[in-house]
């Protein structure tokens, strides 16, 4: 038998000290965990639950206790937010205080937490289980604190990559501005690949522009065109002078010959009438009112030379092959009157006689050419003999992942976040880094904020493909056949679209137009387009189209742009259907928005002539599902039964059938200013 070993006294003391230390640590951990914020939150939740639910609901309710988490291995996230936010998916907690309130809206239905977690949209530290460490507010401690709701749409953009993300107006506006401002000319931006942006061709600008105007334009384009697409390059007076010399030396193409035009016979009143009739304001604004597809014309008289304008109006495509402007069919006298009216009416003062071309200074021209290349003008204005400047700015891929601490903010006291950096850079590019090649766009604060918001969604993180929602741009449509030539002349595709490709100004795409409109109506309408909806200001121009041309287009539409689903509708209606349709028309209050024999509202089209205008199959298809054909339309979907659709179709296609064909309304008269 061995003697029991007894530790020497020194070790005894050590054991005692260690034992006490363990006890202390253990009890600290125990009390710390017992007293954790989330435990008291959960017990407060249980107290509230008893108040907001009836006994039956309480019996059904799941037991709340312990840490809760949503684990999303695909997204590399663990969100424990629901440990405290216990009521988010339970409508009983709408009026409960934070953090227990029901999640507002239907977001959890469209974005179930099991799939998206919380931090995918909200940011913040999902793994934390107390208020501070979850980074509910901006903090120095964490890179990605929770987003305030104002900027949350930035995160929509991470998955929703199309140009018009749903229910995210700020993001959509930011992306629209990125496209419209031509950011893609200088930066690679993910999601905007393949997009181009170009300014007008400059190869003959010396024959177009009044020299005095050019200096002012280069100095500050917005002072001439408030919503100019060209940015302000903060050019020095020397750069401006040399660019002026260079640009005015560009005279590749002479204007069309107008020597035979008798300008002393010009009738500006006739020009004014034409200006209204042709519906120029659909695309060009005057004093801020009118369309934005073309440049504002308020001071066109200060800008262009007479012979150039005459020539451009006669054949816009000769000087600017890429222009959206159509070629009207006008006589030389009409062109003369219109030119004289524009130059006379829309100018600031007496522009004076056109000065003879100044003698060219080869040194100044060479300096201007150098400036043109150095400042990246060729990124937007392609010019023969000058290499495309390419992307002068840095790529914006993953810009949101840049370290905010490494960036400059131009002013003290700004919170160092990528949003603030982008915002300040967009507002004043040269305030952060000097010298900066980036031009000033003079964005309003909200525009700069929207663009910054759209850019902050550009993260490097690779998302699983199942989360990414893209919308590839449609393949470009090029009109062909007998229609092609006319569509090019009248630039139909500047406003109308086919299969999503083309312009957006018109609300009538061509895709199924042959199944929608009566052939004869198309032909008469093209000859004399009037307003189908009087409340809409943007109207179809009066082309002065030839009868043959109108017939060609109508026939082409009627045979090519058809939709079998609409064409197969049975159009043999019974008188009972028609009678019932009339009753339904009154019952649904259609007259609230539509005119019928000069009575009713102005929201939708006048229906007086419907039978002569629309094909019955289309009326039925439209009434059954308007949103399908025109997302965002003001025509509500009444959820009509097939029988009700049929009755209304019978009634509407009877309207205007017997009456003589008259245009629905008079074409637009001269614009009143």
């Amino acid at each position: 038998m061995r003697e029991p070993q007894i530790a020497p006294p020194k070790l005894n003391v050590t054991f005692a000290v260690l034992g006490i230390a363990f006890l202390a640590i253990f009890s600290w951990v125990f009390f710390h965990e017992e007293g954790a914020e989330w435990r008291s939150a959960q017990s407060r939740f249980r107290q509230i639950e008893v108040r907001v639910k009836n006994p039956h609901q309480l019996a059904q309710a799941a037991e709340v206790g312990g840490l809760r988490q949503i684990w999303l291995p695909e997204l590399n996230r663990v969100d424990r937010c629901t440990t405290c936010h216990l009521g988010i998916d339970d409508p009983a907690f709408v009026n409960a205080p934070a953090p227990f309130t029901t999640h507002p809206g239907t977001w959890l239905t469209t974005h179930p937490p099991e799939r998206f977690g919380c931090t995918t949209c909200h940011d913040g530290q999902g793994e934390a289980t107390d208020v501070e460490h979850a980074a509910h507010r901006p903090t120095e401690l964490f890179d990605r604190p929770m987003r305030p709701l104002e900027t949350i749409e930035a995160n929509c953009g991470t998955c929703h990559r199309s140009l018009d993300p749903p229910e995210a107006p700020r993001l959509a506006e930011g992306r629209r501005l990125i496209v419209a401002s031509g950011c893609v000319s200088c930066h690679d931006i993910p999601g905007f690949e393949g997009m181009t942006f170009s300014g007008p061709a400059l190869d003959s600008i010396g024959n177009k522009i009044r020299p005095a105007w050019l200096g002012g334009w280069l100095h500050d384009p917005k002072s001439y065109l408030p919503n100019s697409k060209m940015a302000d390059f903060r050019l020095t007076p020397n750069e401006i002078a040399s660019l002026q010399a260079f640009l005015l030396s560009l005279r590749a193409q002479l204007p069309l010959d107008s020597t035979g035009v008798r300008w002393n016979r010009a009738n500006t009143d006739a020009g004014r009438a034409l200006f209204g009739e042709l519906r120029c304001v659909t695309c060009h604004a005057i004093e801020g009112r009118g369309g934005t597809m073309g440049p504002e014309l308020t001071r066109i008289g200060d800008k262009v030379k007479r012979d150039w304008l005459f020539s451009f109006l006669k054949d816009p495509h000769r000087a600017q092959p890429a222009t959206a402007m159509l070629q009207y069919r006008l006589t030389d006298d009409q062109l003369r009157d219109l030119t004289a009216f524009l130059l006379e009416e829309y100018r600031t003062g007496d522009a004076g006689p056109e000065p003879p071309p100044a003698p060219a200074d080869p040194l100044a021209i060479a300096a201007g050419r150098e400036t043109f290349i150095r400042r990246g003008c060729a990124s937007c204005h392609h010019l023969a003999g000058i290499p495309d400047s390419g992307h002068l700015g840095p790529s914006l891929a993953g810009v949101a992942d840049r370290d905010p601490e490494q960036l400059t903010y131009g002013a003290p006291g700004v919170r160092r976040t990528i949003e603030n950096y982008l915002f300040l850079k967009l507002e004043k590019p040269d305030a952060l880094v000097q010298p900066s090649l980036m031009p000033t766009f003079h964005f309003t604060p909200i525009q700069a904020a929207d663009i910054a918001l759209a850019l902050t969604g550009l993260r490097k993180t690779e998302l699983p493909a199942s989360y990414v929602i893209t919308h590839d741009p449609p393949p470009a449509y090029t009109p062909a056949g007998p229609f092609g030539e006319l569509a090019t002349r009248y630039r139909c595709m500047s406003c109308h679209s086919v299969n999503g490709s083309g312009g957006t100004l018109s609300t009538v795409p061509f895709d199924r137009i042959g199944s929608q409109l009566q052939r004869d109506y198309i032909a008469t309408y093209l000859m004399n387009p009037g307003a189908v909806r009087v409340s809409v200001e943007a109207r179809m121009p009066v082309f002065h189209m030839l009868k043959d041309e109108a017939q060609t287009i109508a026939t082409y539409f009627d045979s090519v742009f058809r939709d079998a689903a609409i064409d197969t509708y049975d159009t043999q209606f019974s008188p009972a259907d028609e009678r019932r349709g009339g009753e339904l028309y009154a019952q649904f209050g259609c007259a609230g928005c539509h005119q019928l024999n000069t009575k009713g509202g102005y929201v939708g089209p006048d229906l007086t002539d419907t039978g002569r205008r629309l094909k019955p199959g289309w009326i039925a298809a439209w009434l059954a599902s308007p949103e399908k054909y025109k997302p965002g339309t003001l025509q509500p979907d009444y959820g009509l039964s097939a029988a009700d659709v049929r009755a209304l179709t019978a009634y509407l296609s009877g309207l205007g059938r017997a009456t003589r064909t008259t245009p629905v309304t008079k074409p637009g008269g001269p614009v009143s200013r």
């Binding site: 104002e150 006291g413 700004v414 019952q587 609230g592 929201v603 003001l634």
Partner: protein
């Protein structure tokens, strides 16, 4: 005397110390004041807030305002006063939201928007949007209508 002197010395000491402490406190407070910098500014957020909260609207109400502008203001007017450009063609006319009693009831408003005014026994002139708009969009509209109705006219 000695005692008194001693006591007086003590009082003097305390007084002096108190004064010194006070001075120290003031200096410290001033120092702290300078040390506590104002919270950093958030210019991007401020720009959005200036835009969205001009009318004191929450995020949801702001979204509702945009939808209202698209779908409703032709009849109801931008501010729900019943003065849209199409209002004069309507009988009954759209009511002024700011004075209407029924507008206080969110469930009722939601019903009118989703199912149309006919669904609550009124004329059919306010159309049903429940099949055209997403549920979330209807909620935004309800929120904005509520904001309009609670506005002091």
């Amino acid at each position: 005397m000695k005692n008194t002197h001693g006591f007086g010395g003590f009082v003097g000491f305390v007084r002096f110390g108190g004064f010194g402490g006070f001075v120290g406190f003031v200096v410290l407070a001033a120092g702290c004041h300078r040390a506590v910098a104002p919270p950093p500014s958030d210019p991007m957020l401020d720009a959005i807030r200036a835009e969205e909260r001009t009318a004191g609207l929450s995020y949801a109400e702001g979204q509702g305002r945009q939808l209202f502008g698209q779908y409703c203001s032709t009849c109801h007017g931008d501010e729900g006063k019943g003065d849209g450009q199409n209002a004069s063609n309507l009988n009954p006319a759209p009511p002024d939201f700011t004075t209407s009693k029924t507008m206080k009831d969110a469930a009722y408003v939601r019903r009118v928007i989703a199912e149309g005014s006919a669904a609550v026994g009124r004329s059919p002139l306010s159309p049903p949007w429940g099949k055209s708009l997403r549920a979330q969009e209807i909620e935004y509209l309800v929120a904005y209508c509520h904001a309009l109705a609670s506005k002091k006219s």
